[in-house]
Amino acid sequence: MEDTFAKYQRQISLQEIGLVGMKKIQNARVLLVGAGGLACSSLLYLAACGVGNIGIIDFDTIEISNLHRQVLYGHTDIGKLKALVAKEKLEVLHPNCKVKAYATQLISDNAYDIFQSYDIIIDACDNIETRYVIEETCLKCNIPWVFAAINKFEAQLSVFNFHTPTQAAVQYSDVFPKTTLAEPVLNCAEAGVLGILPGIVGSLQANEALKIMAGFGTVLSNSILYYNALHNTFYPIQIKP
């Protein structure tokens, strides 16, 4: 406990967190769907902040074109599975954080079994189909999820399926209902992305997750935020369930 106190003293000293909030953070169980740019940033901060249990699901391997934004990985990791490398690096940095890696693809058939072991999901995936699997499974498991998606210099951020006594939960499909698109929505490989962008937005996701875990601040649960790194603008949009 002395080590724990020393490590997190600057965070415990915040009135909004304190020892009670810190205990909640240490007991929290968070699953990252995807181990790309958003996840690398949020994982580093969640582990550093003292989150006790982290899961990472990703079936992809590290490529050289990932390295400008996926800051957990380096040249010697090329060709290795992202989920396994992320787990190894986080456990070296923060041995008190238990990390479980799932080197598989999240699909409807495995999502429920995996999600049941977690309290919060962080959506760091790179496609909309997986996002609907996350939504469906979070509804079944009755857990919130911290959504983000990026495009070139822009990002979206929100918290879905987050219930409060005064407000009904908003869902991703309240904003973007399932539909057949004439043009596919491009991912980072297709559209390009500024390396720093997922670092900023993944940090914002970690911040939302921490607020949910420890119960402080205002959760971004009834609006979707558009962020533009090119012009440094935030554009929040209110969503009614």
């Binding site: 996840a39 790179d126 990026i150 495009n151 822009e154 929505v185």
Partner: protein, 83 residues
């Protein structure tokens, strides 16, 4: 257009929708119905018809046609995919 009922609104767009329109914002003169603005934009920028677009008015997401007021801000919102 019925001149007596026309209003000025600001349209802002994000992501690929901004690329199709060619600017981050524009002022248009329109009838005070969101459906009128939607039709105008689709006719003026045919590339929008292939995109998934949600609309917000004065930073409030809207799914139905609503009456617009002078000077309001209409946002065109695309989904993003990358992570």
């Amino acid at each position: 257009m019925n001149e007596t009922k026309s209003i000025q609104v600001k349209v802002v767009a994000f992501g690929v929708l901004q690329e199709i329109i060619g600017t981050s914002s524009l002022q248009i003169e329109c009838l005070p119905e969101l459906s009128w603005v939607k039709d105008f934009l689709l006719q003026s920028y045919p590339g929008l018809s292939k995109q998934h677009i949600q609309f917000a008015v004065n930073k409030q997401l809207v799914s139905d046609n609503i009456t617009l007021s002078e000077g309001c801000e209409i946002a065109l919102l695309p989904p993003f995919s990358g992570g």
